[in-house]
Structure formats: structure tokens, C-alpha cells
Symmetry: C2
Subunit: 224 residues, 2 copies
DNA sequence: TTCAATAAATGACCAACAGTCATAAAATGA
DNA sequence: TCATTTTATGACTGTTGGTCATTTATTGAA
């Protein structure tokens, strides 16, 4: 009785703690969306969250930590959408293509996660990212996203819509990396007037991605 | 006479100034290679260059500015190598593939530029990057690299090794973006033990990139 | 209701570091 | 030789991420 009562209390506290953490992430997303990560200060995030700066550090170890939490949120969201594709009643090759579109839509409707993902990858190779807990979590999400792609490829190999001469895992890495690269370049083109690299080219993000998916699709699809 | 003498002096000064600038970039490359951009301080770079910190600011506006100069160096180097491919006596489709390999080799032998390029792109979408002079220069190099790819594609379309149903510029963007994406993912896999996303997969960077080039190659090559 | 104990919140404070500037040293050329 | 201009310097400043002693709120037993 006392025990369950106590348990309940702890559980409520836990919930409150989680809620506050989410609220801080909300605030950080707003501030960072507006000013970019580097130009956002902890004081600004604290003010937006209606908390003292010191309080933020009761919930997060560092500024980077908060940005990684945003990353985490984004990758969970993306994975949910990827998971849905697997449940669709379509051929494997169509699933793979659909995943490309899902990723594109995701980036277009959540640009902050685009930057956050890039930041994470950049940090992985530059900084000493000691936050092993959240980093492991993020990597786990990466593995999960990859798993969906690989599964779609396997489905396609079984239903005969995708060639079987490559290892599906290898193909998965390739498709994933290539999609990200194309969408990154195309996204930059669309969003930065100053990105002159493509200024005289007027393909829309969608048409670029569609063509890409066509090309890689015809590179992997079973022709016979 | 006096004039030409004066001209000569100015020219020598210019040369010395340029040389010192290069020396600072050298020093910065060393320090940043060792500690990463964020963890490197201007004092460290100054010490490595055997100069006072204030002196660095006679040659560069900011720490970021130095990193962009490193970027600049890297993209010039890469463009040189890309330009060589165009002069080779091979079919268009082979040129395109060769460019993928060139990019891969470049990243493998100059990892610092890999990070620098990523930093630049990230900054373009996050910061307010006011250094318009060097930014324009960098974008120009991007356009140049792209031009090589597009030219190779056009050559391939003319010699019949590449399908003509896509706009070569569109294809160029796609090939370029996809290559970067695949190499980025594969490079991360190879260099970060902690990158668990692919830990149970044992394809080498080369074999991944080779497969990718195969796939996209068969997606764009003229089959008949 | 009261109150001691525990937990949560706070903002003044600190250290690190990018960037500045008054001063000094070196180069120039008359 | 020396006045003038150019180049170099490091002490100094402002900003900001992160800390911690202190304050405030919550809890639960008496």
C-alpha cells in the first residue's frame, strides 16, 4: 500500500520530469529554428522555456546535448514514417521508392531536423561526443531506419521486383546514402538563393528526387 | 623606372603576404586535423604558425574564415583531379565512374577536407556566413566540379554509352549528390568504430562505392 | 497543521575563448 | 640617419557555456 503509493509518486515525478524535458526541447526547437544552433544561447532557450539557465542543466548535460535530443526526436519521427511503408501492400521496389519519398517529405516539412542530423554526423567525426547514452540511442535509430530499407529490398528480391545480384544490406547502405546525398544537394538548391551551384538549373526538388529514384530503381530492378 | 621599381616592391609584398597566408592555413590544417575545428583555438593556430594571435586577424577575419580557406584549398585540389579525368581517352560512362573514384580517393587521402566541406555546407544553412568573398569563391568551385560531371555525361551521351532520356545537368546533380552521400556513409562506417549503424556489415569502402557506381551506371547506361 | 528533510530551481559567478586595439618592432626609402 | 609607413603583438574585452552556493518548493511523518 505504502509501497504502491510511493511507486505512484515516483512515477508521477518521472512523468513530470519527462514533460519538462520535452518542454525544454520544444523551446530549444523554436529558438534554434529561428537563429540556428550556433547563434542560439542557453539563456535564450531558458527564457523561452520560462526557466532559469541553471535549470536546463538539471535536465541536459550541455547545449550539444539538447541539440542531440532534438535529433533524437526527429529520428524517432522519421522511423515511424518508415515503419509505415513496410506495412503497405505494394511490391518491394515500390516500397524502396516510397521510402525515398518519405525521407524527402520529412526533410521538407521538418527542416530543423535536417540541420540537426547534419550536426550529429559532423560531430561524430569532429568532436569527442562523450554523451554516450544519447549517441548510442541515435545510432540505434540509424540502424532501425536502415533495417526498414533492407527489409524492403529483401521483399523486393522475393517478389521478383529487385535484382538478387547484390547483398540487400550492401544495397541498403547505398540506397540510403545516395538518397540522403541527392536530397541534401537538392534541398540546398531549393532553399538557398545564394547557392549558385545550381542557379541556372530549374529542376524542382521533387523532380530531381523522382529522377534519382527512377535511375537507381532501374539500376536495381529486375528487368526480365 | 621608379614606377616599375615600386610595382615590383608591391608585387614582392603581395607574394610575401600570400605566402604568410598559406603558412597560416598550413598551421591551421595541422592543428584542426589533430583536434577538430571546434576544439582548436586561435592561440594554438597562432603558436603553430609562430605568430601572435593578433597577427592572424591581419590575414583572416575570423576563425571560420580560416576554416573556409582550408575548404577553398581542398576544393581547388579536388577540381584539379576532376579536370584530369575529362582529358582521359575513355568513354563517357567510364569518365563518370572514374569521377566517383577520384572523389573517393580524394576523401580518403584528405580527411580534413571531408570535414571542412561538411562544415561549409552546414554553415550555409545555419549561420549567416557574411564572408561573401570566399563563400562566392567556394560556390564557384562547386559549380566547376559540377561542370566536369555534366561534361562527362554529355560526352557519354554523344559516344552512345549513356542514355539520353535525362537532362545531363539533372543527371549531374543526381550523380554528384548520390556519390557524396554514399561516400559519406561509407566513410563514416570505415572510420568510426562507434558507428554501429553498419557494425555487422563488412563491406569495404571501395566495394561499396564500386557497387554504387555499378548500380547507377546500369541505371544510366545505354543498353542497346 | 507543522516542520524537518529532501528535491528542484535559480542566477551570480567562473573559465575559456574569439576578436580588438593601443603599443611596439620592423621595413622602407629619402 | 631618421621620419614614415607597414606589420606584429599580447594584454584586454565581451560573450557565453557551464557551475554551484543559496533559495524555494515539495513531501510525508508527527
Amino acid at each position: 500500500m505504502t509501497n504502491s503509493h510511493k511507486m505512484k509518486k515516483i512515477s508521477r515525478k518521472e512523468r513530470e520530469r519527462l514533460a519538462r524535458k520535452e518542454a525544454i526541447i520544444d523551446a530549444a526547437e523554436e529558438v534554434i529554428t529561428l537563429k540556428g544552433f550556433k547563434n542560439s544561447t542557453m539563456d535564450e532557450i531558458a527564457e523561452k522555456a520560462e526557466l532559469g539557465k541553471g535549470t536546463l542543466y538539471l535536465y541536459f548535460n550541455s547545449k550539444t546535448s539538447i541539440y542531440l535530443a532534438i535529433c533524437d526526436r526527429g529520428s524517432k519521427l522519421l522511423n515511424q514514417k518508415m515503419a509505415q511503408v513496410i506495412t503497405m501492400d505494394i511490391k518491394g521496389i515500390e516500397m524502396v521508392k516510397e521510402m525515398g519519398h518519405v525521407y524527402l517529405d520529412f526533410i521538407k516539412s521538418n527542416p530543423i531536423y535536417f540541420n540537426a542530423f547534419n550536426f550529429f554526423e559532423n560531430s561524430l567525426s569532429e568532436d569527442r561526443l562523450v554523451e554516450s547514452a544519447i549517441v548510442d540511442d541515435l545510432q540505434e535509430h540509424g540502424v532501425e531506419a536502415m533495417t526498414y530499407v533492407v527489409r524492403a529490398l529483401q521483399i523486393g528480391m522475393q517478389d521478383g521486383t529487385i535484382r538478387t545480384n547484390y547483398d540487400p544490406k550492401e544495397l541498403g547502405i547505398i540506397f540510403w546514402g545516395a538518397s540522403r546525398g541527392v536530397i541534401q544537394v537538392a534541398y540546398m538548391k531549393e532553399n538557398r538563393k545564394s547557392l549558385k551551384i545550381l542557379s541556372d538549373i530549374n529542376f524542382s526538388l521533387e523532380s530531381l528526387v523522382n529522377s534519382f529514384i527512377d535511375i537507381i530503381g532501374s539500376g536495381i530492378k529486375n528487368d526480365q
